[in-house]
């Protein structure tokens, strides 16, 4: 049975689903959201309709016409089943393939329906989420991740505050500020902890000549955001960050400071700004738990893939931010390659998608240059005080983390979690893992090992699920290679 499961319906997952479907493969596309698009194409949830809707593609149009439509990535091919509002909580190996366990229905409700779907190939496109660095007061209501500000503005039409400071690093801060303005907020300041993003805008010609940058569309997009911020007279300061939020029950003001090259605050440079919200984004962390459950090799925090987006696990492909932070265009190109490769793996006749593969190569060069320009530097650790919360779920302070590390022999993540409590809460170290590992000087890799990939209730775990279309193990022996 030629069926693949794609997990995640952002740019990578949608492209993968379409690429596989156009080769005649049956695709199940699973996503947590109600509408397609993921975090990047975040659709307005209150507006009616779905601009990626499968219904836009009727099943009786010619294959050529549907291929053309699907390539525009705004519609799904008819042989894609989109499972919305679904939490994938486990992947397990079965003879000849994989079994994917999910709960479908209202988020965290008791009335979700259990499903178990089997497939010979998987495409993982689970994306990434914002990294937030801790600082005194970051646990006050009114401090949000940049992604939260973006999601609420684009998806719900709500600004997270009236006077917002945006703090972090990288070009993503610009669209976040633009979305907040669009939702009616006033941006008090955009604080970029590294050098100004606008430096990129003045150099694209030089960079293109040397081959270091290939992200033409991206620099054009940034120029538009920069123009919008200039029109609204938003102060944009480089080598600056919010190092403290003040307030009793919620944010009332913040302290920003100049940073030196390692992000240590420059003494005497502190300024107090009146604000009721802070949006913080220091790059992104990939959602690795399903890749780890599928036994994919992970190096330096990302899933290792070959030229066909194949991971080290047979029949498991990965695309998008899981393989490296590179943005929506690169994710979609990787998805197209992964979908074609997965289709070939389950036996479809597939020509190598050479154009998408070329886009992946150039996209990765651009992403590498961008990531090198906007790293997280170690001076952030100096923003913390003894009583600053480092693990939000378990309310572990920096002092108690250090005490646990000093008093016990903590060499790895598991021991660190058990003695300090950091990372043991409901988020399972998603928010604090990288930060706590850096503070305690241990390898952060173990934080993403989560046998239950998404918290479910015990009653749900106990429930029996019927397995849909189980794999025919004999047939699965005929899987073809994906060597290009």
């Amino acid at each position: 049975m030629r069926r693949i499961v794609v997990i995640g319906a952002g740019p990578a997952g949608m492209a993968a689903a379409n690429a596989a479907a156009l080769h005649g493969v049956e695709v199940v596309l699973i996503d947590a959201g109600a509408k397609l698009g993921g975090q990047y194409h975040r659709q307005d949830a209150v507006a009616s309709g779905d601009r990626f809707a499968p219904s836009a593609l009727s099943s009786d149009v010619s294959q050529a016409a549907s291929a053309k439509l699907a390539r525009r990535r705004f519609v799904l091919a008819p042989n894609v089943e989109h499972v919305a509002n679904a939490a994938v909580w486990a992947i397990e190996p079965v003879d000849g393939g994989h079994r994917v366990h999910l709960r479908v229905g209202p988020a965290d409700g008791l009335d979700r329906i259990g499903r178990a779907v089997e497939a010979r190939a998987l495409v993982l496109a689970t994306g990434a989420y914002d990294r937030a660095l801790p600082f005194p007061g970051w646990d006050l209501p009114g401090v949000f991740t940049a992604g939260a500000a973006q999601a609420l503005a684009k998806g719900q039409g709500v600004a997270v505050g009236d006077r917002v400071v945006v703090s972090g690093t990288g070009p993503f801060l610009l669209p976040v500020a633009a979305s907040l303005i669009g939702a009616g907020a006033r941006i008090v300041e955009v604080a970029e902890a590294n050098a100004a993003v606008t430096g990129w805008l003045s150099r694209p010609f030089k960079a293109q000549a040397t081959g270091a940058l290939a992200g033409w569309s991206k620099t054009g997009e940034l120029a538009r955001y920069a123009g919008m911020l200039a029109r609204h007279r938003v102060p944009y300061r480089s080598r600056t960050a919010v190092i403290e939020a003040h307030g009793s029950e919620c944010v009332e003001s913040v302290t920003v400071a100049r940073l030196d090259a390692l992000w240590n605050p420059v003494p005497g440079s502190e300024r107090r700004l009146e604000a009721d919200a802070v949006a913080v984004g220091f790059g992104f962390t990939p959602q690795l738990e399903l890749a780890l459950a599928a036994r994919c090799l992970v190096e330096d925090g990302f899933v290792v893939v070959d030229a066909a987006q194949g991971t080290s696990a047979p029949g498991v492909f990965a695309a998008g931010e899981l393989t490296g932070i590179g943005g929506a265009d690169l994710a979609a190109s990787e998805g197209a390659v992964a979908g074609a490769a997965a289709a070939k793996y389950v036996g479809a006749a597939v020509e190598p998608p050479v154009r998408a593969m070329a886009r992946v190569r150039s996209g990765r060069r651009f992403a590498a240059a961008l990531n090198a320009a906007y790293p997280v530097r170690p001076g952030w650790q100096g923003w913390l005080r003894d009583d600053t919360i480092v693990c939000r779920c378990e309310e572990v302070t920096r002092a108690s983390l250090y005490r646990a590390v000093d008093e016990r022999d903590v060499g790895a993540v598991r021991a660190l979690k058990l003695v300090s409590g950091a990372g043991l809460g409901l988020c399972q170290g998603r928010v604090c893992g990288q930060n706590v590992a850096e503070l305690a000087d241990v390898d952060p890799a173990g934080f993403a090992k989560r046998p239950i990939a998404s918290p479910i209730r015990l009653s749900e775990l106990a429930e029996e699920e019927p397995v849909e279309s189980p794999i025919d193990a004999e047939e699965s022996g005929r899987a073809l290679g994906v060597e290009y």
Partner: protein
């Protein structure tokens, strides 16, 4: 469409999340922590951090940023660790 938040009737639109409804009303926090009893509300906005927990129809620990409102939902603030009622 209408829901109740801590007993008070609120007019909502289809597709809104609990967090979207509460933030639009200017409500910034809707639960307290188990340890310090500190106020919390939305943080990551995309279902990752489990900070925005709220009680919906008697079921605690529902992520307000992920839960889409349904007609007649009874939404309540959550204090510390709560058991289902």
């Amino acid at each position: 469409m209408r829901v109740r938040f801590d007993g008070e009737e609120v007019e909502v639109q289809e597709g809104q999340t609990v967090a979207g409804v509460l933030l639009a009303k200017g409500i910034r926090s809707w639960r307290t922590t188990r340890g310090g009893g500190r106020p919390r509300g939305l943080f990551c906005g995309i279902g990752v951090c489990f900070d925005c927990l709220v009680k919906v129809n008697g079921v605690p620990d529902v992520r307000a940023c992920q839960r889409v409102v349904a007609e007649g939902d009874d939404i309540r603030t959550q204090a510390g660790a709560e058991l289902p009622s």
